[in-house]
Amino acid sequence: MSNQTWTDRAWNFFSSMKLGLILLLVIAVAAIAGTVIPQNQPPQAYGSSYELYDALGLTDMYHTWWFLVLLALLSMNLLVCSVHRFGALQRQFSALPAAKKAEDLRSLATKATSVQPGSVDAVAATIATRWQQAGYRVQRQSDGETQLIAADKGRWGIWGSLITHLGMLVLLAGAVVSTYMSTEDQAPLEVGQQVALSELGGLLGAPSNVAIQVKDFKTIYREDGTIQDWLSTLTVLKDGQEQLTQTIEVNQPLYYEGYKFYQAFYGANMVTHVTGPNGESRDVRLEEGEAVQVPGTKLAVMLYRYVPDFDPAIAPQTKSNEPNNPRVIYVVYEGMKQIDVGAAQIGVPETLPGGATLGIVSHRPYTGLLIRQDPGVNIVWLGCAILLVGMGLSFYLPYRRIWAAIEPKGAQATIAWAGISPKNKVAFVDEFHRLTETKPDVAKENDDGLE
């Protein structure tokens, strides 16, 4: 060992499966810690332990240096291990399994013997044909009087684990790209408004000649008044020219040159004018659920909800999605107590208890867009696809080998059979008996020939 160079040692270290196993378990344990300790909270949330947590990176664990080191080690391990195993897999894949003599077959787990009439050659030919028909690669050779047959099937399965590992590497690479190269920002936009991507501070490096404009925005209600969806009709402008117009909804973003526009939130700006009994007035911009103090009184008005098609019989539900009778339902509070409710028409002042007035000057809904650009996503999907192909090969195309050694015995032939399929023993035992036309050994039924 001592004459190993440090590169040999590093290679051995990184190609070791022991390291892989330890890494998988350590990453699992670290990930558990991250679900128990709340992540990305303000310092107060951690109380007196904040300094310690912060120093150890526990407040943003999945992006802390040591967690990334663990993932980097796992990637190194996967890479080195794949390179390391490539040659052996290649050899196993291209070469047929070596022929085995009858006495060697006896040491295998799944085995049987039988006697058949006919010459050794004729029997061997029948077996070879039968196995070929079952999809096996077959090789026949003579060993004196004896005929030896070796065959295998499912050899693409040999590559399964290697392909899975490559998929995992591609996936991790994509995740790194996402973490360090993605940008995003949010924009609340009223109908008619537009914003250039470069004006959104979060979208670093965004082109300044591309803008997004909101053509229309609608909230779709169900009959029971719950919200079914939000629809925003968006137009992408480049140098002021329309490029693309599309209606987006939740789960259906718009794509434009690497940018994705998501329906993320919604709201409405309501310009509100309140006048107290003494004539003092106040103008504010409110959203649903927000309140304003009425000047000179102990009252406050909260704008509860905008209803596009108001009908007193079903309020606060709306009759339809169309603004046939738009109203804003408001609640008047005195301290914590509700003392009045009403439904104000837009632009028509309402009289409040005690002589104050409330005017909702305008109601302008806005759509909340999330705009994201993430060059890592497609790399991650590619990694996932490779990973799934690898797993499919590994688990559903198990590599199996089968042998026969046929010896003459008078006018008959005695045959010693054996087979191996390390990844799918139970199903293989059935296949083995079908291929060899033998019956399972009833005395050994209990362990089915598994070692």
Partner: protein, 281 residues
């Protein structure tokens, strides 16, 4: 929830209960007719379980996999259906005593701890209206069913081993299948069903999240726990190949893996918070 939905739920619950009882009696008495009737009662239970899911589909107008009640109903279905298929394949009726009660316990949880309001179907919030969510939950259901089964088989393995060790030739332990067979069945359930489907479940979930929120992975506790579960089973598969971790260790890992599955499903909702919190009730 209407009376017909309630009827189907309690019928399914009762049938799993009876089937569990029959299988447990079979474990103790080993009269073949007990296992046979257990099997057919489980078939009946899976039928009413399917009917309950179909009825919910007709009432709600979407695949019934979006609130806790619907998912638990689907979870019990996944466990029992996986069991029935595997039983045809491997013929180990004794496993029924270890698997069918898990399906029953899940519905017992619903019956005892979920109030009618949280069982009722509710309008879907916009983010949940996605086909990817459906694939996400279906794959989870089958994966979890296979993991529940491998858990049952792991328990049988440990029981069998202790029976062999103490040299008993009578009793339940002596009649369990050979340790090698149990070990192999547990392995196949994880390798051929549970692990690939959990992988698909995580991937379809990521695709859904990408469509809904523009984030394929956000380290939300539920996501993270599904990844932890996945890492545990990946470790199981690798340990089996290199260190030959079969037998006791493999059985324990199958048990720990299923604990992680249960924590992902129940624990995360009750002990931790996150994006998936809307699935709370």
């Amino acid at each position: 929830m209407g009376w017909s939905e309630n009827l189907l739920f309690y019928l399914t619950f009762a049938l799993y209960g009876i089937a569990s009882l029959l299988y447990v009696s079979y474990l103790a008495l080993r009269k073949p007719y007990l296992a046979q009737s257990g099997y057919w009662i489980t078939v009946a239970a899976v039928t009413t379980n399917t009917a309950a899911l179909v009825l919910r589909y007709l009432i709600a107008g979407y695949l019934p996999l979006t609130n806790g009640y619907e998912f638990l109903l689907a979870f019990s279905w996944g466990i029992a259906a996986t069991y029935l298929i595997a039983e045809r394949y491997y013929r180990i009726p004794l496993a029924g005593a270890f698997v069918v009660p898990v399906a029953w316990l899940i519905l017992a949880y619903v019956a005892m701890l979920m109030d009618p309001v949280s069982r009722a179907s509710r309008p879907l919030m916009p983010a949940l209206q996605s086909n990817w969510l459906t694939y996400h939950v279906i794959t989870a259901m089958v994966a979890y069913g296979a993991f529940a089964f491998s858990f049952g088989v792991g328990v049988m393995y440990l029981w069998k081993k202790s029976a062999i060790k103490s040299g008993r030739t009578t009793g339940i332990g002596a009649h369990l299948p050979s340790p090698e067979r149990l070990d192999e069945i547990g392995y196949r359930l994880i390798a051929a069903v549970g692990f690939p489907l959990l992988t698909l479940c995580i991937i379809t979930g990521a695709i859904w999240a990408e469509f809904a929120w523009g984030r394929y992975w956000a380290w939300d506790p539920k996501e993270t726990w599904s990844a932890i579960t996945w890492l545990i089973y990946a470790a199981y598969l690798h340990a089996r190949h290199t260190f030959g971790w079969r037998g006791n260790r493999a059985a324990w890992m199958a048990i720990i893996g299923f604990m992680a599955v249960l924590f992902t499903f129940f624990g995360v909702n009750y002990f931790l918070t996150g994006l998936h919190a809307y699935a709370k009730s």
